[in-house]
Symmetry: C2
Amino acid sequence: MAAASIKEVAQHAGVSLGTVSNVLNRPEMVAEGTRQRVLDAIAALGYVRNDTARHLRAGRSRTVAIVVLDVANPFFTDVVRGAEQVIEAAGSMLVVCNSGEDSAREDRHLELLEEQRVGGILITPVADARQPVLHRLIERGIPVVLVDRGAGTASRCSVAVDDELGGRLAVGHLLERGHRRIAYLGGPFGIAQVADRYAGASAAAAGYPDAKLTVAETPNLTVASGRKAAQKLVTMPAAGRPTAIFCANDLLALGVLQEVTARDLRVPHDVAIVGYDDIEFAGAAAVPLSSVRQPREQLGRTAAELLLEEAREGADHQHRHVVFQPELVVRESSR
Amino acid sequence: MAAASIKEVAQHAGVSLGTVSNVLNRPEMVAEGTRQRVLDAIAALGYVRNDTARHLRAGRSRTVAIVVLDVANPFFTDVVRGAEQVIEAAGSMLVVCNSGEDSAREDRHLELLEEQRVGGILITPVADARQPVLHRLIERGIPVVLVDRGAGTASRCSVAVDDELGGRLAVGHLLERGHRRIAYLGGPFGIAQVADRYAGASAAAAGYPDAKLTVAETPNLTVASGRKAAQKLVTMPAAGRPTAIFCANDLLALGVLQEVTARDLRVPHDVAIVGYDDIEFAGAAAVPLSSVRQPREQLGRTAAELLLEEAREGADHQHRHVVFQPELVVRESSR
DNA sequence: TGCTGGTGCTGAAACGTTTCATTAACTCTG
DNA sequence: CAGAGTTAATGAAACGTTTCAGCACCAGCA
């Protein structure tokens, strides 16, 4: 019943405790016969290594954590899948934590992760202002890689997609199609991606003196928020209402789309919509959604690789910042 | 730099090591003044408790794992969110593992979790045949709760939704609407849910002697599989082609929908579709999808509660099996 | 024969907690 | 004021590993 320990295995095989450990960790150092005897004992007792003890000794765990803004957002699940591939291939374990865009929950997770002395953390922080908290972890010697967030400081690696470019692409496209009253929907602006995409949108609009870019801030980036925000827009008099909406992510866009079509407005005729992330469901929406595509799994893979690299290299690791280019996918919702 | 240990805190506060531990775990046993001195030392040194050591001593960790078939499936992310709520409220941590419907990966995860001596496991197994592996864990004293999977044995708790009823509801509805050539799309049948939903579908069809229920087995339950399967159905001569498709989950259904509309067949006129799970995106699809709704978050919450209950009660715990009722949501895709 | 160098194994220390039997110092009580 | 009882703090053991210095033994060599 109770799990057997190395000591019992040693006893059963008639060798010392250190020898069993050697069989487990450097089998080539143990004579053939002894090794076999130990392996037999392990099988007989159903011994399973105790990772807790192992990592206590090692001082740091091999498991790696990823903290995302929303597990239910397909964008992040794809990032997670990418990271998983790399981490699992390295024989480690990836634990997924969900901050739900709530900094208290993010804090709580980071605390627990620090207590667990995890081997590293991939994170998309709830707000740009959270850098100090992350710094503390870095000072403690826990490697941190920022996901979907640009350079900034030199104290950690990061992978990101050029969000400003994404914003420019999206709004540039809408402007080219003749839209002049455009709304940017997203929030909170404390999230760097939300702010950067807006910056790009602004930059694009600046090139058209007659264009007007308004902002509707949302409390988060969910379908429900999109629906709610759309209710306001929809009830505006048609003359002042924006003719196009650029949403900070696809969940918002899908919410807007649902609400708008429920109110008998036509997309894109009455209002065009462009989303962001190009999640799998964007193309399958009631009106297939134009969206800014990001290399989601790639993002996760690269982040995980940077983390492993850092863990391997230790002190003389050079922090790197990888930036990917987004790509606009035009579909019916803006055509 | 290096994290301070209890020993250093004790030194700094001028007390013994045991006293610091008491401050941390039973503060009421320590005199006011001493306690304050220790707390000050903790703050001064930035001490963070080492969970690894703690759990080595305790023999079992407080963290709990959930192993799902597909992190990218919104059904599971909702289950995860439900479980999260309960586990976090209890001060523990939930780690999410993704088996990707692959039993080798599932095995690997379970091995690692066993090595980590986790406090418990919530799991939707890759196949019904995996019971023996789970049994081993249970014998080791790790509580296991089956998620989305019915009674079976008495050796563990489970939460489930009545999948047979779900299948009956879906196909019963299609039959009532006059469909007589119905395809069931899903797989692999080793997954209990896939088999049970089919059983329900069969039972419903049995009541209509002129009805014909065919099966198209898929290798997994993803959008891509749905699209691929639909390609075959679509190219059949209209006379023999099923007039309705019941899919084992919504991802498949969305895939079918995409492919079918791309081929200029109309839904539901040329072919009706009913999905399963009623994920958030089902209602927002090109043609809003009829689906069998399950209480997803509730499922996760209840599973987590059963697990905590079992962990609390220890040996004299009575295993329980909770079964929820599904509900058919009829939308345009079958109307 | 005595030395040198391997090889294969042992035994103990260390990782950072928690727990528990002891001890030390007081406060009552009769 | 001796003894009992209470309270607060101590110190050591234990959890299951990994690591490393050291020991025993043997082969090869001069």
